[in-house]
Structure formats: C-alpha cells, structure tokens
C-alpha cells in the first residue's frame, strides 16, 4: 500500500461521500457546501495525477466561480420556501437506487476486464519536467494542436455571457426620472406656477434638470452685494465666468 494509493483512497472516499451529501442534503446550501468539499478533493486528486494546472483551474473556475454563482442563485431565490426533502415518490427513489447499483456493476465489470490499447504517448513525466512543468507542457500541447478548439471555446464563452446578460436584465427598464409634483415658482418669472390647477410653469430661463457635468472642477460665482443676480439665479453652466 504505497503512500500515493493511500492518499488517493482517502481523497476519493471523501469526494464520494461529499457527492452523496450533495444528493441527500435537505438544505440546498448544505448540498452546495458538500459539493465544494467534493470539488476540492477532486482537485487534490488531479495533483496526484500530475495535472497541477487543472487542479488550480478546477478550484478557480468550478468552486471559485460556478459554485459561487449557484450559491448566489440559491440565496436570491429566497431559500426558505423549498420543496420538501427528496420529493420523489418512495418507489421512484428505490427504483433509482437499484438502477444505479446495476449500472455501477456493469461499469465496474468493464473497468476490470479492460485491456490497454495503443502505446504510451510522448509526454512521460520526465519529458514534462524537462519542459518546465505541467503548465508549460500543457501550453505547448494546447497551442500546437488545439488552437482551433480554443477559438471556438472563446466564441462559446462570449455567447454564454451575452445570453446571461439578456436573461438577467430586468424585464421593464426602470423609469429613471420620477415625476416630481412640487410647487415650483420662478424667481425670474413673475407669473410663477398655478399649482392649484397643476399647470407646469414655463421656465424659459431655468430648464431645470438639463445639468451638464463638465469634467473639471467648478468655480463659484461671488456676489459682491445683496442685489447681484437677483433677477436670474446663477444656474447651469451659463455663468462659468
């Protein structure tokens, strides 16, 4: 029982138990947690299988992004009105269990009686180390034989992002300008507003709201005496002396 196998068995066992936990947990957040544990253990197994880059990628992409998104959705969807545990009719659960075990039996049979086909590939561990490590080797392989699939994946990811944006946008764009019904009178316009009958005053001088924010800072207008600017308050950028 070499150390490698022992560690592999432990990690594998935890991964499988965690996976079972995902299925059996009552609260989806607990199942998400179990999934995190399972993914981390699988990442550790990748390291044993000398695929460090993929281990890091797995943690960054799967646990770091996808599962976080799933947790977001679980929490935004108001986690307390959840369908009851398991949900399936008992008979359905039992049937699924039997089906699963049967499938497991078949696959195990296939695994044990298989014969290795084809000769080993060029990337033996020594060759990988010579190149400088798993990342460098993977980079060479990817960008020599698989450049096209990378471009296709890039397009796929772009399409997915756009799809997500479309789905997540609120249905009706929120009306930004709230209608404000304040009684507005105008200093410069003697007639003022007839608030009683809701006539909106014509404010030629003060087109309120069209506010242009220039990039630089602002200068204040200094009034020398109490009489300056009484006809026309300094408003808008007209007064940028």
């Amino acid at each position: 029982m070499s150390a490698e196998v022992l560690v592999f068995d432990i990690l594998g066992a935890i991964a499988v138990l965690a996976a079972a936990g995902v299925v059996l947990a009552r609260n989806p957040v607990h199942s998400a947690l179990a999934l995190v544990v399972s993914f981390v253990n699988v990442a550790a197994i990748y390291v044993i299988l000398r695929a460090e880059f993929l281990a890091a990628a797995q943690i960054i992409v799967y646990t770091g992004a996808i599962l976080v998104l799933v947790l977001f959705v679980i929490m935004l969807v108001d986690p307390d009105n959840l369908p009851e545990f398991h949900g399936g009719r008992p008979v359905q659960r039992l049937l699924a269990l039997i089906l699963g075990l049967a499938l497991l039996g078949e696959v195990m049979a296939a695994i044990l009686t298989r014969t290795i086909v084809g000769q080993p590939g060029p990337w033996s561990p020594q060759a990988v180390a010579a190149v400088g490590g798993n990342t460098q080797a993977l980079g060479r392989v990817l960008y020599s034989g698989y450049v096209l699939p990378i471009q296709v994946t890039a397009v796929l990811l772009l399409a997915a992002t756009i799809g997500a944006l479309v789905l997540a946008r609120p249905d009706t764009p929120r009306v930004r300008a709230l209608v404000r019904d304040t009684a507005t009178i105008s200093l410069a316009h003697p007639r003022g507003s007839e608030m009683a009958n809701g006539v909106e005053p014509a404010l030629p001088a003060l087109a309120a709201g069209q506010l242009k924010l220039e990039a630089g800072e602002r200068t204040l207008v200094m009034a020398k005496s109490g009489d300056d600017f009484l006809d026309q308050p300094v408003w808008g950028e007209r007064h940028q002396s």
Binding site: I185, L203, R218, M222
Partner: protein, 410 residues
C-alpha cells in the same frame, strides 16, 4: 369640511411589501441611533433594490419644548437656552435672540460691543462649518478629515473659553452689550488663529476638492433647482448652492456688516459638491470679516449700554452709587417690562436664516417666543433630494443639509 387625521402607522423596523409582480419594495429604518444621522434623526426609507423611492424623516427625539419654556422665563433668563438649540454654533444663537430683544426694546449696544459680537458670530460660523466638514467627510469615508477639522475647532473653542469662560454653551451675549471686560490678549489670540487657519484649510481642499472619489460621490448628487430651493424656504448654503443670492448679512445687514467688505459665494449646479464649495468659501470670507472687525473695533469705549433701565447696570458702579444699586435691585427682582408689540428679526446663522419672533404683552415674560431655525426648514428638502438617489447617498444628503438635531427639534 371634515378632515380625518390619518391613523399613525405602528413603528415597524422594516418589512417587505410585494408592490407588483416583479418589484419588491423594502421599508428600512435608519436611525435614530445611527452613526451618520448627526444626532437623533430617524429616516424611514422605502427602497426598490438600490434606489430610494420614498423617504420620510422622523424628528422630535430631541424636542425639549424650548418655545414653551420661553413663555415662562424672563427675557434675560432665556439666553442660556439659546445655546442649547444649535449647540455647535452657540454664539450665533445668542446673538439672534439678543438682537431681537434689543429691537423690541428699541435699544442698541455700543459700537465696541457690536464689533465684538460680529467677531464672535463669525468665529461661531467657522466652528459650525468645521463640524459640518468633519462629519460630512467622515460619512462619505474620508476618516482623517474629522480629526483635522476638530483640531482647528479647538483653537476657536479656546478663544471662546478665554472670552466667556465656556467652550460650547457660551451664553456670552447679553441684552445691551457685554458686562465683562474684553481680555487684553484676546485680539492677539484671534490674530494667531487667523494666521494659521488659511494654510490648514488649503490642506482640507488638497485632500477633497480635486479627489476623484469625492467628486464621484458628491457631483450630481442631491441636485436642487433654484426655484425649488426658494419654494422649500431653504436658506444658507443650501439656497446659495443653487445660485440664489440671499445672505441676511448682505440682504438685510445687522450690526456693522455694511461697514465690512466681504463676498457671498454662489453655486451653479446646486448639488452636494457646490454646497461643499460654498461653505468652504464662506469660511474664507468669515476670516476676512474677522480681520476687518479686529482692525475697526475701537480699543476703549463702553461695552455696555449702562444708562438704559432695560440693561443691568455695570458691576463696578452698582456697589458705589445708590441709584445703580436700586436699578440693579429692581432689574434682578422684577426684570424689565418691554413695550407691547411683536418683533421678528433674522440673522445669518451658519446653517441659514435664524429668526426670532417675539410677541410681548408688556410683562417681563415674553407672551410668545418663536425660534425659526434653519435646519428645521432645510431638512424638509431631504425627501426631495433622496427620491431616485442611491441608498449610499443618503448619508451624503444628510451631511450636505448640515443639520444639528438640537435646533431641528428645539
């Protein structure tokens, strides 16, 4: 024409209402104990996601019934109460009340006293603006600003302490002038402050005025158009930020503001950033005013209108002359009886127009004493500014109105 008064809704911390099939609205309570509500102000916000759809400020947690008390105290006894309304700029409150009573009595303090009153009022404006700047910047995140502002404010409070013995509740202004002599080294102390402060203020502006994050948090936030500001009765920097030129010191000068040369800053966009610029400029103008007052104030001359019976006779002559002792005795026991009539006088307080309306029925106790504080009226514009704003902006909006709950609730 019956008008049923709406049943007061029970106080609920927060609840979510399903407004329509897709929009969920959240009612949120902010305050009254809240780090950035400048005292005990409570704001009920209705939120839709991040934007505010409704804002209802609830005040009254610091209501002490100052106006009711005013109807049971003699004119001179009420002065200490005026410190407690806006506890950040106490000399200005004293000045407002004392000037109104002097107008009712038809008397005027001697020239030297009026100059010293102007100096103390402008120092109070500086102290109030420093508290505003410190807390406003702290709410938006600049931690150190409050430390620097309060360091400068200490210098002003030391001047107050040397002048009248108290730092905060100054109770320094009396009807008819000052009864205690001016400490001889006070003018030099003020001149030192005038020499140091401009450099410190440039430090504040280096930190904030051109800071992109500060600009992002303040520009275009809480915009008030000039006619809306006038309609809401806003005064002080809130009104001048929108470009309306109304400063009581220029519009209806009192004391010797017409002998002093200073300018009134006006904003052009009426947002939080403009009000910030206006108040910073006001501080510089106050320095100019204090400097000119220090130069123009006569070094000797009476500080107290001694000959009028409305005024308590000066201490030194009370013990020597019989007539003053008798007047002192009557003044203390029965107080003075002003003529019947009503008076309203407004001064330019650091937060806006502080007006006192006194109705006198001829008795030594005012019949009605109404204090029009600027914060109370300015705070009405918070719902107008908050609608459509983001939640994180509420702290900036409360800061830009510059409220002190003592004078809002009275």
């Amino acid at each position: 024409m019956s008008l049923e008064i709406t049943e007061p809704t029970p106080v609920i911390i927060s609840e979510e209402r399903q407004v329509s099939d897709t929009r969920r609205e959240l009612v949120l309570n902010m305050g009254p104990q809240h780090p950035s509500t400048h005292g005990v102000l409570r704001v009920r916000l209705t939120l839709e996601g991040e934007t505010i759809t409704g804002c209802d400020p609830v005040i009254g947690y610091l209501h002490r019934g100052v106006e009711k008390l005013g109807e049971s105290k003699r004119y001179a006894q009420f002065v200490p109460w005026t410190d407690r309304t806006d506890y950040v700029a106490a000399p200005s409150n004293n000045l407002g009340y004392v000037l109104t009573v002097e107008k009712l009595l038809g008397i005027e303090a001697p020239e030297r006293a009026q100059y010293w009153r102007m100096i103390m009022a402008e120092l109070a404006r500086l102290a109030s603006h420093l508290v505003w700047l410190g807390t406003h910047a702290l709410d938006i995140g600049a931690l150190s600003m409050s430390l620097y502002c309060f360091r400068e404010r200490e210098m002003i409070l030391d001047i107050f302490e040397k002048f009248c013995g108290a730092r905060l509740t100054t109770n320094m202004m009396e009807i008819g002038g000052f009864s205690r002599p001016i400490p001889p080294d006070l003018p030099d102390m003020i001149r030192d402050f005038l020499a140091v402060f401009p450099k410190r203020q440039r430090e504040y502006e280096d930190m904030l005025s051109a800071n992109p994050i500060w600009l992002a948090r303040t520009r275009g936030v809480g915009v008030i158009e000039p006619d809306v500001a006038i309609n809401y009765g806003l005064t002080g920097a809130c009104l001048r930020g929108s470009g309306v030129n109304y400063d009581v010191r220029k519009a209806q000068p009192y004391l010797f503001y017409d002998r002093v040369d200073f300018e009134v800053p006006l904003g052009t966009h009426g947002d939080v950033y403009d009000r910030y610029l206006v108040r910073m400029e006001e501080m510089r103008q106050s320095l100019k005013i204090i400097q000119q007052c220090l130069d123009q104030v006569p070094t000797d001359g009476p500080l107290k209108l001694a000959e009028s019976n409305y005024v308590i006779p000066p201490h030194d002559t009370v013990l020597t002359t019989a007539e003053d002792m008798q007047r002192h005795f009557i003044w203390v026991i029965k107080g003075f009886s002003p003529p019947k009539g009503e008076v309203y006088l407004a001064i330019e307080h650091s937060k806006g127009e502080l007006g006192h309306y006194i109705v006198s029925d001829g008795s030594p106790i005012p019949y009605r004493l109404r204090i029009r504080t600027p914060d109370f009226v300015n705070l009405q514009s918070l719902p107008y500014m908050a609608e459509g704003a983001m939640l994180a902006d509420v702290v900036a909006l409360i800061g830009t109105i510059d409220i002190v709950l003592g004078s809002v609730d009275r």
